[in-house]
Subunit: 328 residues, 4 copies
Amino acid sequence: MHNYAVGVLGANGYAGAELVRLLARHPFARLTLATSRSEAGRPLRAPGLRQPIALEAIEAADLSRCDVVLSCLPHGESARWVAEAREAGARAIDLSADLRVDGDDSPPLAGASVYGLSELARDAVRDAAVVANPGCYPTAALLALAPLLRRRLVAGPVIVNAASGVTGAGRSPKRELLYAEVAEDFRAYGLGNTHRHLAEMRVHGGRVAGGEVDLVFTPHLLPIRRGILETIYVPLAERLSEPAARALWADDYAAEPFVDVLPCGAPSLADVVGTNRVAIGVAPVAHSAAPALVVVAAIDNLLKGAAGQAVQNLNLMCGWTETEGLPC
Amino acid sequence: MHNYAVGVLGANGYAGAELVRLLARHPFARLTLATSRSEAGRPLRAPGLRQPIALEAIEAADLSRCDVVLSCLPHGESARWVAEAREAGARAIDLSADLRVDGDDSPPLAGASVYGLSELARDAVRDAAVVANPGCYPTAALLALAPLLRRRLVAGPVIVNAASGVTGAGRSPKRELLYAEVAEDFRAYGLGNTHRHLAEMRVHGGRVAGGEVDLVFTPHLLPIRRGILETIYVPLAERLSEPAARALWADDYAAEPFVDVLPCGAPSLADVVGTNRVAIGVAPVAHSAAPALVVVAAIDNLLKGAAGQAVQNLNLMCGWTETEGLPC
Amino acid sequence: MHNYAVGVLGANGYAGAELVRLLARHPFARLTLATSRSEAGRPLRAPGLRQPIALEAIEAADLSRCDVVLSCLPHGESARWVAEAREAGARAIDLSADLRVDGDDSPPLAGASVYGLSELARDAVRDAAVVANPGCYPTAALLALAPLLRRRLVAGPVIVNAASGVTGAGRSPKRELLYAEVAEDFRAYGLGNTHRHLAEMRVHGGRVAGGEVDLVFTPHLLPIRRGILETIYVPLAERLSEPAARALWADDYAAEPFVDVLPCGAPSLADVVGTNRVAIGVAPVAHSAAPALVVVAAIDNLLKGAAGQAVQNLNLMCGWTETEGLPC
Amino acid sequence: MHNYAVGVLGANGYAGAELVRLLARHPFARLTLATSRSEAGRPLRAPGLRQPIALEAIEAADLSRCDVVLSCLPHGESARWVAEAREAGARAIDLSADLRVDGDDSPPLAGASVYGLSELARDAVRDAAVVANPGCYPTAALLALAPLLRRRLVAGPVIVNAASGVTGAGRSPKRELLYAEVAEDFRAYGLGNTHRHLAEMRVHGGRVAGGEVDLVFTPHLLPIRRGILETIYVPLAERLSEPAARALWADDYAAEPFVDVLPCGAPSLADVVGTNRVAIGVAPVAHSAAPALVVVAAIDNLLKGAAGQAVQNLNLMCGWTETEGLPC
């Protein structure tokens, strides 16, 4: 099995550190390069790392040493370095939001990237030169909704009520992320359907549905470190029994190594944190005049929602087993 | 000002202890009796208590010593003791769910009780012999929805996505409430619109609306001690601008000492925990074909959601200033 | 009763905000001025505030409007503004470390300040022009040790093992104080007796003892918001029985409104957080050849350890009841 | 390599569940039997488990199916079942406290058991029929102190100030372990050197030292799920420089796969939680008349403090690589 050389840009944030942790122990990937502006010159610390490497400033890094470059750089800065990686001959996985939606203001590469929600785009990812790794909230929402979207069963606006642990907000010091501000608190943000991830969900949900998808998305900040739970309300044209509803997910995901469809009840974050899995629970809405389902999806925002799915995509791109090096 | 004698049944749970804490420092209420089966015989500990009192077993307590009895006994057990209090000549406030809904299986007193959501039932509470103190989830939901319900602006199922701190689940030791189970976790329960509080919301929301109210309610357990945040999605018949929407709440609650309508954004639990206030944020839903509002309401589940509202009702019943002895 | 005008410098940090919260509801203090460089121009938010005031930049503030100025400015910056307050004719309470120890490098005012550990320096505080408000760790340690120090019962190095919630580290954004770094972690710092508070404890402990005090101090960072617990090991020349040991504290603190000497066991932070009290537990060391006591002291670091004690000192300076406006 | 059959008694507590988790993925151990009285009849859930097994009531379990039995049963109940396992022909590892100290009241097997602090008893564990797996607090304390004890450098009572996450207190529902009681709190227990683990530390520390060891041990309960941090103060006969001090640990543990001696500073729980490692920091005490060291040791109480060390001992007993199946 070919041992591809991989590099991580922005290795010192939460997603970057998680990616390094996974790649250091990955049986086939050879972690060759890692950048961090603030830590440049220091040795990279990662249990299992087979060859010592030093963190570099990205400007000084020779990206041509990598077969695949994975970028955890901030939104707005990442696309430029993905383009540099391409010019240096490497394939790339971009964990930032830069390339996920191909709009008027998007970087040129956005149009040439594969949106890497692994379960929905497996074949395209295998051959991709550039993968746009999905956002954490869209990953959970799209996996939860795909069985309904592709069957065109949605009959009105879908309400996505989501809550994320604080690592989703990054590792840059901000007052509102201090322990004393977050502990024992809970708050909504992006009220009124204004969060950036909405467009990503609508565009890629629309592709699954083959048409427009009406979504109302309200994210919340949880006083926990990692994990995303989304409670999704879906209006239907006709009632579905609980077994009939669950069968949609069970059928679609029967062969998926990272998707758990629960036999009853709702998932909790404890079911998935530390793993690359998504857990999904489904129930018809009782005591309401309108036919609807409640779907609850849980992921680890740093694994299936970021670094784990990036490694899943790397495995696909390199021809390795899709679960290689991933906790399940 | 007459100093009424008050008694607390079930003083050792979270709501009971909070009630004792408030009443011990209340300028006019005279805490005379407190029961706890497990702690019977021990002195009641409460900073500010003017006369020492010992906890009693409820069976041994002489309820006729009280002008008003406040019951924090468990659901199913409380109504019986409220009836005893009435027979002993006391008025009563029942913090359990027993008397909130007058259904086929309800205790006889349910039909004779006033549902004590103070802001909506002020006059009836003043004269009530028995007040059914509202549940924590319904308190936040009904205050958030009343301006829309009474104007009949709701045009479809209302989605109430709610999250509560663990004191809402009581103080009896259960494995799923242990620190090591709750910390760093988040989960939904009562999936599919099956939670007991739903009926309470529908009945009393229906009274405000003068008709049926279609609600879908999903509660979640937060890894915090106290606080409830509800994110509520309300379909409308026509679009409302943000100022027009906010004006509904601002107008209705302009004179309310315990209701904060935010000028922008969503409340967080930190705004209300430790107070008897409800904080409400409102925003129209952008980027959706269907006219709708998102309303977020936050309360302290042990104060406005239980003991605080009970004292607010006590103040009304005794003719005291409504805010007396309450943190705001 | 004269209503003195008071001002708070640095009202936006954790101690400053707590001080504002207390002063806004204080029955006699009239909060007249509050500074915050980052929030200058915004209205001060504090429930109970009788007259609206706007936050000012300190450089623009007229300190002569105050009878007493309380400074929560950072160490190194505070003393200068305390001197300005004195020149403007105000008395001052400095919550920073600047004036607590009168050493070679100390500002001139250090020699003229009263070290305001209220219980030990009540009379001097009453007449002080400048009070150096004690540090949080020294407050707990000195109150716990004073009964032994003044009787010269200590027979060797005293081990002070202390743990503090994160508000003790201030509100400036730093990576190591982010929620995701602090939660589920616990760590020692200042290992090897190198923390700044050590000198403060030794100097003021030495004054109580009338001689040198040998202290070994190791602070730790707790994943909580507020509270300090210190577990102190004191070698003795001779064994003391448990009743004899406890009597030392019970006798010395019998009349103290803010000191609780527990009848048995050790205090927990839950006993004191939200109050201005210190709770102290004492036990002789069993199963050891060397006579010794373990003393455990708990305080709220923002109240008795900072803003609460500052108000206690303000009460003394202004001739008000010592407990006025303080939670107990 | 022979695949030994192993069984876990008491698989549903925190240590038992952790043990099952490790053994299900262990490359050589074959998990064959697991008991849980409350869950009897249900399938054992463990990612990686190669053959499905059902939980059994211990009374119904055939222990002769196991080559090695690992008992996580409660103290007082465990020794009896370890004896049963021996009679059924199995070797055993007892994670309870029953066999750790051979005193007058101990079960007969205590005298025939090897105290399995792996790093200090490697050869004896290899050949042992019964291993008494050390307690969590003693594991950290003894590994931290061994370099000083075996050189007889300790010159007075050793102060062991320890703090543990709540999983150390077990999974049985108790009020004081509820989330709402533990969060934002911190407390000492066993004040005055009265905790059960003291005897274990003294006996086995004494064996390392070849004589009596005077210890003062104060445990505390941390508001975290897992991890133990011990801050240990050791009086010395003569001063040691920092390099000379650190060299003691660095030399003794140079070849140890699970012991990290830090180059400077103190470990934090984040360094070790999720691993089987102990991290140790050392510093001479400055500013004190008495020569002394502060040693800080950190472990994951469920791994190196329980299930991890049990697997480490299992690896030794079965002739496998000592680190097999263990996170490092």
